[in-house]
Every structure is written in structure tokens, then in C-alpha cells.
């Protein structure tokens, strides 16, 4: 269970000098676009040494359902192995795949299992096996069996893909910590939706929804982003 009451939970801002983003009226917070059904989404991490894609992804998963997390060997070497105490999910099956081909196969097997909440794959670079056909297969399987699939790309380039939503995720300076001003607060992410079916692409600064832990919210669209940057400046 996600434990409530982290420092910087977003509910109680104390004597913080500037007005924190997302403070105050709820209508300025808007939900990030979500696929209307289970499908394949691709998340490009800004850099392999940045864990932001993991946090961004975890913020939209249901922690009570089992996850299948497939990591390619290179992804583990470069970006680290997932660490269950930090994930806070009820059930997890971790697969260490030797190469992208094995990882894609394991993901597809996972999608066929109705008990799985979501299948997450992490691939390093641009392997040959990960072409349009492979991603399209995953997308079709995810839609057919109703299991969401996420592909985290570390150090890869956005070439042709069958993914329905494609994000670029980077870290953003975190919210002020109400308990300790010098400490990092609740994480924020710079999320860019650059290709999507059924949603308008855009840029957001996203955070975990303080009221519903499975959703992401953002001050809406590019306009808000500019405003946010101005405020920070």
C-alpha cells in the first residue's frame, strides 16, 4: 500500500516562500491524457541515469494488482535493477531477459495472462528486435487481452513504433518539502506526449494526484507550463 503522509505530501504546505505549483483551486489541476483502454504506451527516459520514467509509470499503476516487470540485462546494468521496497506494489514478478528478443517474448506471454495488472518492459538502446512489427504485436496483444503494457526505453531513439501513446519523461525539481526546506519533496516530472492516438500531444509538469494515487495531474497544457516556468524564474 502506498503509505500516506510522506514529507511533501502536497496537502499541507507550510511557510513556503513562493506559491507552490498545484496549490489551491482544484480546477487548475487537470488530468493527464490516459488511454481509454489497456494498450501499449512507450516511455522514453531522458537519460538512463534518471529514474523519472519509473516514478511516472508507478504513479499510474494499480498497486494492488500483480505486475510483470521485464528488464533486459543492459537496462539493469545501466539503469539499475528495480528495488521492491521502493516500489510498494503488492505482487511482482521480475524477469531478467538476456536480450531484447527474450524481453519482448516475456512481455507478450505476460499480456496473455488475465491476472496480471500491467506488463512493464525495459529495453536499452535501439535493438534490432524492437521494430515496428514487434511493438505493434505488443499493442495488439495488450488491447486484445485487456492488459496494459508499458515499454520503458533507456537511451533509445523514437523511431517507428506501434505504441498508442509515446511519452518523453524527465525529472523536474521536486515540490518543496514541508518538513525540511533543504530536502527533496514530492517528485515532479516533465512529461511530453509527442505521439498519441485519441489524445492531443502536449507538455506537462506532472505529479501524483494527492487525492487519487493512481492518477497523474498537471496544470493544463503548454500554457500552464510557461506559467510554471515564469513562476520559478
Amino acid at each position: 500500500m502506498p503509505s500516506a503522509g510522506h514529507p511533501g505530501d502536497g496537502r499541507s504546505f507550510g511557510s513556503v516562500g513562493e506559491e507552490p505549483p498545484f496549490e489551491g483551486d482544484r480546477e487548475r489541476l487537470s488530468a493527464l491524457p490516459r488511454p481509454d483502454r489497456a494498450t501499449l504506451s512507450e516511455l522514453f527516459a531522458a537519460s538512463p541515469r534518471d529514474g523519472s520514467a519509473t516514478g511516472f509509470l508507478l504513479a499510474q499503476l494499480d498497486p494492488s494488482r500483480p505486475l510483470l516487470w521485464v528488464q533486459e540485462r543492459m537496462a539493469i546494468l545501466e539503469g539499475g535493477r528495480i528495488y521492491p521496497p521502493g516500489l510498494e506494489v503488492a505482487e511482482l514478478i521480475h524477469v531478467e531477459a538476456n536480450d531484447a528478443r527474450a524481453a519482448l517474448w516475456a512481455m507478450e506471454e505476460g499480456l496473455r495472462c488475465a491476472a496480471i495488472g500491467a506488463v512493464i518492459g525495459e529495453i536499452w538502446g535501439d535493438p534490432r528486435a524492437l521494430d515496428f512489427t514487434a511493438t505493434r504485436r505488443l499493442a495488439v496483444a495488450a488491447e486484445r487481452y485487456g492488459v496494459a503494457a508499458y515499454l520503458i526505453r533507456l537511451g533509445g531513439h523514437a523511431s517507428l513504433s506501434g505504441a498508442r501513446m509515446r511519452w518523453r519523461i524527465a525529472s523536474a525539481p521536486s515540490l518543496p518539502n514541508s518538513l525540511d526546506l533543504r530536502a527533496p519533496g514530492e517528485p515532479l516530472w516533465d512529461a511530453e506526449l509527442f505521439r498519441a492516438r485519441g489524445a492531443v500531444p502536449g507538455k506537462w509538469v506532472a505529479r501524483r494526484d494527492p487525492e487519487n494515487l493512481q492518477y497523474l495531474v498537471a496544470a493544463s497544457g503548454d500554457r500552464a507550463l510557461a506559467e510554471d516556468q515564469r513562476r520559478r524564474a
Binding site: 541515469r49 528495488y83 521502493g86
Partner: protein, 473 residues
């Protein structure tokens, strides 16, 4: 002729027929035999190789009977009770066994007792004796009783040369003379079936197994897959009858060249769903090399657990745990046990040790579900090995200001810490140092989990080193 190194030079272990005609006998010294016939060729005896060969052949002989026992260095015994009629009677069975071991010198005998079969195989003059008890055995020499050399010599001195002669002597007079454990009365009783001599080990509860015998050897690579599909149904029926579920299934393929190829798969929950079993083994079965042809298959559930008849739900949908277990099975069969794992919490303060992994096929979800969350203070990703970083700090004990990791400089904007984790002295070596963990955020918002190993002047090494251990999402 095979020789081994003995106390006084080389000794003969086994001889060919030609060498035997030249006067060589097992147990002789090589020099003595060469004195009789100088041209004898001697080869060193590979005893380990022989044992391995006999073991392999014994496994292969499982095609005729499930009860095969290795007997000494050069023989095996098979319980063929109720088996022979499958091969056209005892004579037919003998013929088939001899044909099966073509290329080796074999002596096959069938008898009512294991002792009689042993004696007939080694001492009978017939080519493949099938004993009616008594008359055949009665002509055999005393040595066929498998007694110690001393007992043999004593009997020889008494003028008892054959088993028939010994059987004629009153029991009481024999009993008076032979009091050791190794006495001719017991041997005779075993031979004639008066006392039982079971094969060891006798598996009382044979694992569920279904077999398929092909009329002709087939060398098509696809044959194993087809055989598997045929065998899975009968095996599932057997399992259902005995209310068992398989945890490990093994497909064995008997090749005509005397090899047995086996492939196995394990399941995380006991199952008797034939479709699932086929799916698990299909890939591996396809990789069996048929060589010169395969002529028999067996599918064995070598590890079973009780599984009562059950119904998962009213609408016939498998339950969540079953679905998950099957996924784990499929992944494990293809990728290996050590690649498909579940987290397992361990009582330890060291982050890398606190969360271990256990192979998913051998663990139940209930066991691993009890994971204590570290909340916001534990990273989502942990490097397998902490990586050394260069750190700039105001004071050695103070908070870091800037660090270089993988040749990139990160200016630290915010810091939280330290969280001190002391070494586990009951486990680690005495020189290991404590760690001060910091959660840091650089100017771009990237959050890391870095630690300093040791303190200045703690007497456990030089300047403390800095490492990055985890990444926050």
C-alpha cells in the same frame, strides 16, 4: 584384454575370447599371461567409464521394465514380473534385450529368482537360458552361488562341485559347518526362492507415467512433439485417478543407439491440465536430437503433490493464482529458474540484502507478498553494485555539494540525510564500514541515493569513499 595396476605389477581384469584361448584369465598377472603367450595386447581398464556406461545402459533398460537395478560392475537385474508377455513371452524378451544391446557381449537369463537368473547368466552353457527352476540350475558350479572364496574352497574340498550336489546334502549338517553370515544354505534358499530377495531400491509408489512405443524408429525431429501430445492425455488421466498434480514432468526419449534423452519442466502449482503440460514441454521436446531414430517415449510426473478434484469457479474460468502460476511456468521453462523471480524480504538493514529474490516457480505469492515498504525513503531502482563517484563536500562529515557519476557532473540542489546504516557485525567481516545514505536531488530534479562508506578516522581504512546506489523515480 584389460589390465589394472595392482600391488605386484599389472593384473588382468577382463579378457576377450581370443585371449582366453591363449591362456589368459581374469586375476592373473600380465607378466604370467605374457609368459604363456607373448603377443597378448593389454589396455588399461577405465573403471569409472565402465560404471558410467552400465548406469547409462540401466537407464536405457527402463524401456523394458520400470524396475532396473545395477548389479555389480558388469550386470543389471530387471524385475520382469508381468512384463514379458508384452514382448512375446520370456524368450521373446530375451531376444529383444540381446538385440537391444547389439554390439556388446551380453548374457541374458530369465529365472524365477534374482539369484537363479544371476547364476544362469554367468555359468549356464545355454545361449539365453529361460529357467524352469531346479534342473537347469542344478548343473551349475558352486561358484554360481555368489559365496566368498573361502566358502567356495571349503565346499570344493568337501567334494560338492555343483548346486545340485549341495542341494542333496541335509540342511542340518550344512548348518553345523557354515555359521557365518555368508553361508551356502541362505544362498541356496535365495536361489530357489525359499527366501525373498527383492531388488533394491524398490520404488513402491511408482510415479505416474505414460509410455509410447513406436513400431519403427523415427528420426524426424517433430516426432517428440507429437509423442508428447499423445502422452499428455493418459498422464493427466493417471494423475486424476490418483488425485495428484504434477510439479515436475519429464519426457524421456529412447534412441536406438542406446541413449536416453530427457527434458523436464517444473510447475509452480501442481497441475494435471494436459494442455498446459504440453505447452510447457513443447519447445524443449522439439530440441531433442533424434539421432538415428527414437523408438520409445515416456512422460513421467517425477514430482507430484496431492491435488483434489477442484473447480475454480462456476463459470469455468481459472482463478487468478492459477493464471499467474501458469505464466510463471511458461516464463521459467523458456528463460530459466534464476531469471524469473519474486522479491523476498529478508531481515537485514543493508539495502541490497534486505530485498532478496527467489525464483518464482519455487515460491508462492503469499510468501513473498509480505514485503515491507520503505516508503519514500527507498529508491525504485537499485544498482547491482554501488558505483564509485567523486564528491565535493564542504566538510568531510558534512553534506555533499556536487558529485561526478559516469563522467557527468551533478550539482546537488537539495539533500536529505544522513541515514546511517551500520555494518552487520554478526555477518560481515570486522573491517566493513558503516554507510551514511543521503537522498540528493540535483539541479535538474534527478534524485539519487548516494552513500559515504566509513567515517574519517574510524580506523577501518583511509578516506571514506562515496558511492551512488539507487535512483528515485
Amino acid at each position: 584384454m584389460l589390465v589394472e595396476e595392482a600391488q605386484h605389477g599389472q593384473r588382468i581384469v577382463a579378457v576377450t575370447r581370443a585371449a582366453a584361448e591363449a591362456g589368459a584369465r581374469p586375476g592373473m598377472r600380465l607378466t604370467d599371461a605374457r609368459a604363456l603367450f607373448p603377443a597378448l595386447a593389454a589396455v588399461a581398464w577405465d573403471s569409472a567409464g565402465d560404471t558410467a556406461l552400465v548406469e547409462r545402459l540401466a537407464r536405457w533398460a527402463g524401456r523394458w521394465s520400470p524396475l532396473v537395478e545395477i548389479d555389480g560392475g558388469d550386470g543389471m537385474r530387471m524385475d520382469v514380473t508381468g512384463v514379458a508377455h508384452l514382448f512375446g513371452g520370456e524368450a521373446g524378451l530375451c531376444a529383444e534385450i540381446e538385440a537391444g544391446f547389439a554390439g556388446l557381449t551380453t548374457r541374458v537369463a530369465v529365472a524365477g529368482t534374482a539369484g537363479a537368473a544371476w547364476a544362469l547368466a554367468r555359468y549356464s552353457s545355454l545361449s539365453s537360458p529361460v529357467a524352469g527352476e531346479g534342473e537347469e540350475v542344478a548343473h551349475l558350479p558352486i561358484a554360481a552361488l555368489r559365496l566368498s572364496p573361502e566358502a567356495n574352497r571349503t565346499l570344493d574340498r568337501l567334494g560338492l562341485k555343483t548346486i545340485g550336489a549341495l542341494a542333496g546334502v541335509p540342511r542340518r549338517s550344512l548348518a553345523r559347518r557354515f555359521r557365518e553370515a555368508d553361508n551356502p544354505i541362505d544362498a541356496l534358499d535365495r536361489l530357489l526362492g525359499r527366501t525373498p530377495e527383492p531388488l533394491t531400491p524398490m520404488p513402491l509408489d511408482l510415479p505416474p507415467r505414460s509410455t509410447l512405443r513406436l513400431a519403427d524408429p523415427i528420426d524426424d525431429p517433430g516426432v517428440a512433439g507429437q509423442a508428447l501430445a499423445k502422452l499428455a492425455g493418459p498422464l493427466a488421466d493417471q494423475l486424476a485417478r490418483r488425485r495428484l498434480g504434477a510439479r515436475r514432468v519429464m519426457l524421456s526419449a529412447w534412441r536406438v543407439d542406446g541413449e536416453v534423452r530427457e527434458v523436464a519442466a517444473e510447475t509452480s502449482l501442481p497441475t494435471r491440465d494436459s494442455a498446459h503440460l504440453v505447452r510447457l514441454l513443447a519447445d524443449k521436446a522439439g530440441m531433442i536430437n533424434p539421432g538415428f531414430g527414437i523408438d520409445a517415449f515416456a512422460l513421467t510426473a517425477s514430482w507430484c503433490e496431492p491435488l483434489a478434484a477442484g473447480q475454480d469457479s462456476l463459470i469455468g474460468q481459472p482463478s487468478k493464482d492459477h493464471e499467474l502460476a501458469r505464466l510463471v511456468d511458461r516464463l521459467t521453462v523458456r528463460l530459466g529458474k534464476e531469471r524469473v523471480r519474486r522479491p523476498l524480504a529478508t531481515a537485514s538493514h543493508l539495502p541490497e540484502r534486505a530485498s532478496g529474490w527467489v525464483s518464482a516457480v519455487n515460491s508462492s505469492p503469499a510468501l513473498t507478498r509480505e514485503q515491507e515498504g520503505g516508503g519514500a525513503f527507498r529508491p525504485q531502482r537499485l544498482l547491482d553494485r554501488p558505483e564509485a563517484i567523486g564528491v565535493i563536500y564542504a566538510t568531510p562529515e558534512g553534506v555533499p555539494r556536487r558529485f561526478t557519476w559516469r563522467r557527468k557532473v551533478h550539482d546537488i540542489a537539495r539533500v536529505e540525510g544522513p541515514e546511517r546504516i551500520a555494518p552487520e557485525w554478526w555477518r560481515a567481516r570486522a573491517k566493513s564500514r558503516l554507510r551514511d545514505y543521503y537522498r540528493v536531488e540535483d539541479d535538474g530534479g534527478r534524485r539519487f541515493w548516494i552513500f559515504r562508506e566509513g567515517l574519517v578516522g574510524d580506523g577501518r581504512g583511509g578516506t571514506p569513499g562515496w558511492f551512488v546506489h539507487g535512483l528515485f523515480g
